[in-house]
């Protein structure tokens, strides 16, 4: 919540400083960098209860960095709550958000008020403000969506959560580490992981990789049957429920009586 509260000020600073910067899409030869994600493959089986992902980045010495993990964009149809008759809170309509990422994590090594952040292109989607711009006509409600997604554990902006833990493979690099917790409700799919470096009002994309979440075993079978053979799935669910109810009835075997 503290992070969210500080965001508006940070983004005002960012927007003021936009013109002063140069942008590069890859690190130059003088800036060796690396990005590793562990685990990069997460099976979603019946025992899956979310996963902790460790992020390691090697950036040129002196650089600030940000790692962004972003899921596939989807359209979200939601109910909007409001006051009716100045007293009652209830659903007052429906809203549609466009291009909402399934998950969004942004970990940075320094402050989000870093002037170098202002140099980033919009498509890099560094910060909630950039997401809101893509949401369509309902972007005014985006702070509420962020609040909801943060409560679910699917969105996080972790300022200063990338920590310098020594030097990288050579003396000219710094090793930054951080971790994030993917919630159990994170959807299956491929999440893009990108490393950005910021130095002297210059922003560069230093590396990219992915995390893949995939349903496996019984979870995969059930999802497949439920979506491809809904009628059969529903029929089996009913039969199992009726059999369970009858079996329990037999087990308890109540005596026959006249009732009250």
């Amino acid at each position: 919540m503290e992070i969210s509260a500080r965001l508006p000020l940070a983004w005002v600073l960012v927007c003021l400083l936009v013109p002063a910067a140069a942008v590069t899409d890859a690190a130059g030869p003088e800036s060796p960098a690396g990005l590793t994600v562990e685990p990069a493959y997460i099976p979603i089986g019946m025992s899956y209860n979310g996963a902790t992902v460790t992020l390691k980045a090697d950036v040129p010495a002196g650089y600030e960095a940000a790692i962004r993990v972003i899921g596939k964009a989807e359209t979200l149809e939601m109910k909007r709550k409001g006051k009716v008759g100045r007293v009652l809170w209830m659903s007052v309509g429906e809203v549609t958000f466009e291009a909402v990422p399934a998950v969004y994590f942004l970990l940075t090594s320094g402050s989000l008020a870093n002037p170098s952040l202002a140099t980033m292109p919009r498509e890099w989607k560094l910060g909630y403000e950039t997401l809101a711009r893509d949401a369509g006509t309902v972007s005014g409600l985006y702070p509420e969506l962020i609040k909801l997604k943060e409560q679910e554990g699917c969105f996080l902006v972790g300022e200063g959560q990338l920590v310098r833990s020594g030097s990288g493979p050579n003396a000219s690099t710094d090793r930054l580490t951080g971790s994030l917790r993917l919630p159990a409700r994170a959807t299956a799919g491929e999440y893009a992981v990108d490393l950005f470096g910021f130095h002297e009002q210059r922003a560069v994309r230093l590396g990219s990789t992915t995390i893949r979440l995939e349903h496996t075993g019984l979870a995969r079978v059930l999802r497949s049957v439920a979506t491809e053979h809904g009628l059969l799935y529903g029929g089996v669910a009913i039969v199992v429920a009726v059999l369970a109810g009858l079996t329990t009835g037999f087990v308890f075997h109540p005596k026959k009586g006249k009732g009250k």
């Binding site: 709550k81 409600l141 439920a226 199992v240 369970a244 329990t248």
Partner: protein, 306 residues
């Protein structure tokens, strides 16, 4: 011990789900209600998406009501004739109710109308049941038993209807149109409110059909069973929102809870059952009212659920 729920796309504690199922099953066996009005919001609170919570809840109610209905049937406490008539008319009523919802939504203000009607109706039914049962427990004669100079308007209307039918199990004779009309309206209200309708059906059977309380619970469960079978099949086929694992864990608790509830019900007098039911109805009403008066933490919610 947590387990992943593949359709909900979330994980949850196994003992918690079994426990919640047990609690709702107990209420189901005791009062003849499905319990969806209680369980769906609880599931949403532990992170299950509303559409999956409502659909999977219907699936577990099939198990709980089978278990409860079986227990009551063994006791001879299910009026199959009355239950079948009201079930068929209830299905017709719920079909019309779905169309009314569409119309209200097109006009706007649907949610306001539905919610206010819901709260007022629950408050009225619950208060009346509570007052009447409390009076009976204190030894006051129920109004129905008092000699009255002239029958009520409702009684005169009911007695004036044609085609009288004897419901031998309930030991009542009334026009077949009475359960048809009442079943139709319960189905209609249940569809408009988005609930199974057990806790509307129970007061209707007690106060308007004058069925014996021990038959009301079993007969209501009989209807809830078929209504929820229909909902489960439709949700699985159309929306793919039934989470079988979630329903299985809930029903593990609910089938046992329903048996315990049915046994507990046999140890209670009709007025004691009624007063407990009225407390449940009033609790739901107060919960809804608080939900309407308190500012929500987030001004957005996912679509679906009750």
């Amino acid at each position: 011990m947590d387990i992943y729920l593949p359709i909900a796309g979330s994980s949850a504690s196994v003992p918690l789900l079994v426990g919640l199922g047990g609690l709702v099953g107990f209420l189901s066996g005791l009062f003849g209600v499905g319990g969806g009005f209680l369980l769906t919001p609880l599931l949403m609170m532990i992170g299950i998406p509303p559409t999956v919570a409502a659909a999977s809840d219907a699936n577990q109610i099939v198990a709980a009501s089978t278990s409860g209905c079986y227990a009551h049937f063994r006791e001879g406490n299910v009026d199959l004739k009355m239950g079948t008539v009201m079930l068929l008319s209830g299905l017709a009523g719920s079909t019309l109710g779905v169309q009314i919802i569409k119309l209200l939504r097109a006009i706007g203000e649907a949610n306001f109308v539905i919610t206010v009607v819901y709260v007022v109706m629950l408050g009225s039914i619950g208060s009346y049941m509570f007052y009447e049962s409390l009076g009976a427990l204190r030894g006051r004669k129920p109004r129905a038993g008092r000699p009255s100079l002239r029958p009520s308007i409702y009684r005169r209307l009911v007695e004036g209807l044609p085609l009288p039918v004897h419901f031998s199990r309930s030991k009542i004779t009334l026009s077949v149109f009475v359960p048809i009309i009442l079943g139709f309206f319960v189905g209609l209200l249940a569809a408009v409110m988005g609930v199974g309708g057990g806790f509307i059906m129970v007061p209707v059977m007690v106060y308007l059909l004058r069925m014996p309380m021990h038959l009301v619970v079993g007969t209501s469960l009989f209807q809830v069973l078929f209504t929820c079978m229909n909902v489960t099949l439709l949700q699985a086929y159309v929306n793919h929102t039934v989470d079988f694992i979630l329903a299985l864990l809930l029903l593990l608790g609910s089938v046992v809870g329903a048996q315990i509830g049915a046994r507990a019900g046999r140890r209670l007098r009709a007025d004691q059952l009624k007063i407990l039911m009225s407390v449940v109805v009033l609790t739901v009403m107060v919960k809804m009212l608080l939900g309407l008066l308190q500012a929500p933490d987030v001004l957005l919610a996912y679509k679906g659920g009750h």
